[in-house]
Structures are given as structure tokens and as C-alpha cells.
Amino acid sequence: MAKIKYHILCCGGTGCHASKSDVIMSRFNEVINEKGLTSDAKVVATGCFGFCEQGPIVKILPDNTFYTRVTPEDVEEIINEHIIKGRKVTRLLYTDPAKNEHIEDSKHMNFYKKQIRIALRNCGFIDPENINEYIAREGYEALSKVLGEMTPQQAIEEVKLSGLRGRGGGGFPTGLKWEFASKYQADQKYVVCNADEGDPGAFMDRSILEGDPHSVLEAMEICGYCIGATKGLIYIRAEYPLAIHRLKVAIKQAREVGLLGKDILGTGFDFDVELRYGAGAFVCGEETALIHSMEGHRGEPTVKPPFPAESGYLKKPSNVNNVETFANIPVIFNKGANWFNKIGTERSKGTKVFALAGKINNVGLIEVPMGTTLREVIYEIGGGIKGGKKFKAVQTGGPSGGCLTEKHLDVPIEYDTLIAAGSMMGSGGMIVMDEDNCMVSVAKFYLEFTVEESCGKCTPCRIGNKRLHEILDKITKGHGTMEDLDKLKNLSQVIKDTALCGLGQTSPNPVLSTIDNFWDEYVEHVTVKKCRAGVCTSMLKFVIDPEVCIGCTLCARNCPVNAITGERKSPHQINQDICIKCGTCKEKCKFGAISIK
């Protein structure tokens, strides 16, 4: 068969899927068939390209053309111009917002320039539902090397040498963790993959599983060989149907070719993987809770020790790692620990994947070497703040993390520096906020989450967080006092010191970090009852400028609670006691007489 000239890669990740990428793909196939181009062009459904902001994305190889916000109606033109005539469809090319230039080759996009893709190496390049495409990109070579040439101890040493630390939030050295698990003797051990991804606003792990499921399976097998386990379990959120589907396909294909199951690669090593479904509880991301949930119980955490390495799933030694941690493993063996440990910084090796979201131009999935600064991520990769607004804060670490500000922008991204700055690496959520976000409300948002997600087992977390939330609510409603701010600080400290598991111990972080970095804003809320972002509506005051108002009565007729009075043709007034701050009057006034004070 003649070599296919063009590969048309269409993003099949959840984000683009939501904007009809499946329709786009079938349209491509239709047009290719109609025009008899089946030997020239081939459509491939890939995982996420990362540049979700501009989705749905279609990338054409070999020339790396990157078409953005493609619609099914654009397909015919792409085929006619690009595939048949070899001319790019300029209007669909990505435009560099700074230079206002079309970029023809994705390698030249700022979004990709600063990135190094290790965990995401295959996402957006291969068809995740075809094991051969994974194999063609060094897939399962690491496994074959480990099984064929290394003893478990040697392989563990290699992981230790790489300096890889857990990407699920804690940052524990992965090689060391494997070594612990390998030391315990038992008739059965387990390798567990934590794919619970509870941080609301993070989608790294899901994208890896959707875009490159085999990398995780391969790593779990290597881990199994190292610690002496023959069973792997992936605990995945039931809310991730596409990732579940891709994993099922991957497991089935790996079994068919003998890369999972009995006597793998003829080495006598047995290993198989099963899926376990989460059911929407954030605390189940915590490893002891996760194990209880896999056993069919309520997902309540228990005190460590014993660590899972000693007594985990069904009381057997178990090694729990995060999806992204696993995705790094095959590369460490393919390229060598000494290649991997040159990337990053002294104490944080390799790269980290972040789900960059919020008020930023380039929302998407990115992977940067450790040590990259927040400024580089936000301004170079992220393309700066949406709508030319002013940067206010960046939140990392999800509900356990904190908000960093302008003065932290040059902090290099590392486990330890982020903690020193008052936040944490977390699993990879990175949310950018601008001047329109109220920091008290953001703290309240996270507390609302923790209150809902606290498992209720221990009092500081169950009751303490509720109180924190009540105080924050009171402040945003305009009834807060200075004493409330003291209470917030003291109570936060008590919860941190006394809660049983990581959820409770970190839940006050969003409060403490916003108090630290945005103290003025808190004080404004409680003293002058002002929310500078205009988010806390109960503090807003709508007023009519008597100089501008011509008395047309339009606002009064539209006010849902009849708060506006006045004679026709003379200035109207708003009764503040009745006003519910709905903003209707301001929208309706054609003369701009109504403003927010």
C-alpha cells in the first residue's frame, strides 16, 4: 500500500468532544471517501492536544498545521485546500494574539515552546484505542527491558536515581515507596493507580488516561514486577466515561497480544489489571479512603501507619501511585534515570502537568519542567490574562492549596518552594484569577467544597470547616467584624493541627493564604462593607444619578420588587431597603443613569 501522505489528527478528548469533535471526524471520513482520497489521507482520533481554549483542534501531519475552533462546516474546505491543493486554510490557523500573525507550524506557538512533554508525550499524537500506535512510539519497550534485563531491585534503584516524586500531591519519592512495598512479604500484593482526580478544576489525569492509557498500564506492570505484585487496580471516577472506555479497550488489547495476563513476553511474569469505580467523593483520593472504597465500604480515611505498603487493599501490601507518576515511569527506563534527573531542579526532578484554567487566554493542559516560574506559565504559555484585565491571583493545589499573588510570580515551580510560598504543588490544578474575582468569595467557594466533601469522621473537619464557612458567608453578606477575621485565623490553625486526614489538615489553606495575601480585601469587607471586585452583591448599592436621569420610568417598571419610585419626567430613586441588587434597572436604563457604588 502506498504511504499515506497526510494524517489528520482530531482531538477526541472530553473538552473537544463536547464541541462536536466526533461530528468533525465523521465528516472528514465522509468527504475523504466521497473524493476518493482514502489512500492520501487518514483520520486519527487522538487524546487531548492540551490547547483546549482553541478547541476543537485539528492537526495535520507531516506539516504540523494547527487548525483551531474547527466546525463540521470547515471540513470540506480543509480537504479541498489543504489535502488536495496543498494550501493551508489561513482563516483557521492559530493567530498569535501578541503579534496578530497566523502561525503555520505548531512548534512555533508560544503555548508549546516552553513545554517539555514527558507524561503527555503521546497525548495528541497517537490513537489511544490502537495499541500498535503506542508500541510504535517505544511503547512496552521499558517493560521488556525491565523484565528481560533487570532484577526488581535494579529497577527500583533506577526509579530512585531518577528522583521522581509522586505527582498526586504529596511528592513522596516514588522509588522509595516501591522499595518499602517490595520489602513486605505476602501471598498477594497489589499495585493501585489513583485516578480519582478530585480537585475540581483539574483534568490532567483524565487526559492522560484518555490520550495514552497504555503508558499507565505499562508502568503498573513494571511496578508489579518491582514490588512482587501480580494484580493491578485502577480506581477511577465513574464521572469519566471516556477515560473508562479507553482503559477498557487498552486492557483488552494488551491482553490479546500477551502484554497483560500470564507469562508476559515469555518471562514467566504474570500481571493483570482491573478497574474499580469511584462514586464522587473527594476524600476517596486519599489513599486509605481509596482503599476502603475499593473494598466496597464508605470511603473514610484511617490513621497511618500502617501505610498501604504494609497493609493496604484487603490488608495486603499495596503500592498506590497517581496516574501522572505512572506515566513518567516508561520514559525513565527508555531514556535512563540519568536523562530524567537532568530535567528540573535539585529537589524536584522532571516535569509537572498542570490544568491551566480560569481567567487566562490559553486554557489547557500543559507540561513544564520543574523550576519554570509562574510568570512564564501565566504570561508566556498561558498568553496572559483574558480580556486585558489585571492579574490578581493564581491558585494551585485545589482545595488543599493556596492563592499566590503578583509578588510570587517569579517563584520557580517546585514542591518545596510552593509550600514555602503558602500554597502547594497539589495534583496540578492551576486557576488564574483577575481583578473581578473576590478573594473572600474564592475562599468561601473552597470551604463550601470541603464542607460538602468532609467525610465527617473527625470533629475538627466536620464542624470546624462548617464554622469557617459560616464566618466567610457572613463576611461576604456584609455582616462581618474584625473579630471574625481573628476567629478565622485561630480556627484554621486548630483544624490544621487536629484533623485526622489530609483533607482536614489542608482545608483551611485557601482561607489562610487569602488572609495572608489579601488582608486589605478582608478588612474592606468587614469595615467599609465594600467588595472591590463587585462579587459580593449584598454589599453593592445601585444608585440613580439625578443629573442624568430623565424620568422615563423604564427602570421602575422593570424592577422585580418595586424598589424604584419617582414621578414621570423627574429623577427616580432606589429604596435600598427593598432593592435585591438584581441589576435589572442598570441593564434597562438607556441613559446610563444607574451606577454601582
Binding site: T14, F203, A238, Y277, A279, G280, V363, N437
Partner: protein
């Protein structure tokens, strides 16, 4: 709660599901996932059957059902609306979208309209943060939803 009668064929399917998991206690969560697929929700009667089949107490089953937010004990509307309140959607104004839906569809979070047409729920991150704010109706995802677009979207149903 008024007793409801479970449809014969669905009941049979449920018992089959329990059997396919060897009636193992440890498979409770997997069984409940399947049960919710069959019935759409998990009323007390379904929980009783599961408890009986897996030989655990009804309290254990209830404990698990009430712990996990994915499980619901109330039937959903014909068109279940879910508004994403993940952080990315929150900072891009998802709350305003939620308020608008409550107004337009006349339904509160966790409730179903009297005619059974819509039910409303919040969820945490569907993972389409690039499209924030996001809402789902059934399996269909709507991205970049402005409060002004809510009326138009709901009118499709």
C-alpha cells in the same frame, strides 16, 4: 417513603447483576453503579434487594449510597441539567448561570420540576475547563454558557 413496586424485568436484571459479581460484599459499589444504570436512581426498595442479595444489612447499603454523591435516591427529570461548579467554571461565572437556570426552569438544585421535565444538579468539574462555564443536559455538553444563553438552550427541550 411510599412503597414503590419495582418493575419485574428490572428486578430480574438487578439480581442478575448481583450474581455476575458473585454476590460478593466487596463488590457493593460496583453493584450499585449497575443498579443505578438500570433504575436511574436508588430508591429504598432497590437498596433492600441489594442488601439481601449481597447478604449485608440495609444500613450498610444506605451508608454507602448516602456517602457517595454519584448515587441518588431521587428520580431525575426527563432532562437532567447539571451545572459544573468546578473552580474553573466558578471563576468564569458559573454561579450566575446556575441562578439563571433556577429562574428560567423554575427548579431548585436537587429538585425536579412538577412535570418531571427538568431536574437540576451541580457537579464538580466535567473536565472541559477550556469551555468554562459548562453545563450538561443529559449527556450533551454546552460550553461557554453565558446567563443570557440559558433561555435559548432550555428552549431546545
Amino acid at each position: 417513603m411510599a412503597n414503590i413496586k419495582l418493575a419485574e424485568d428490572k428486578l430480574k436484571a438487578l439480581i442478575e447483576v448481583c450474581k455476575s459479581f458473585n454476590n460478593e460484599k466487596g463488590e457493593l459499589i460496583n453493584v450499585l453503579h449497575k443498579a443505578q444504570e438500570i433504575f436511574g436512581y436508588l430508591p429504598a426498595e432497590v437498596q433492600e434487594v441489594v442488601a439481601h442479595e449481597l447478604n449485608v444489612s440495609v444500613a450498610t447499603v444506605y451508608g454507602v449510597v448516602s456517602f457517595y454523591s454519584f448515587f441518588t435516591m431521587k428520580p431525575k427529570g426527563e432532562n437532567p441539567i447539571s451545572v459544573c461548579l468546578g473552580t474553573a467554571c466558578y471563576v468564569r461565572g458559573a454561579e450566575k448561570v446556575l441562578e439563571e437556570i433556577k429562574k428560567v426552569a423554575k427548579v431548585e438544585v436537587g429538585e425536579t420540576t412538577p412535570d418531571g421535565k427538568f431536574s437540576l444538579a451541580c457537579l464538580r468539574c466535567v473536565g472541559a475547563c477550556g469551555l468554562a462555564p459548562v453545563l450538561m443536559i443529559g449527556q450533551k455538553v454546552y460550553g461557554r454558557v453565558a446567563p443570557e444563553k440559558v433561555n435559548e438552550i432550555l428552549a431546545e427541550y
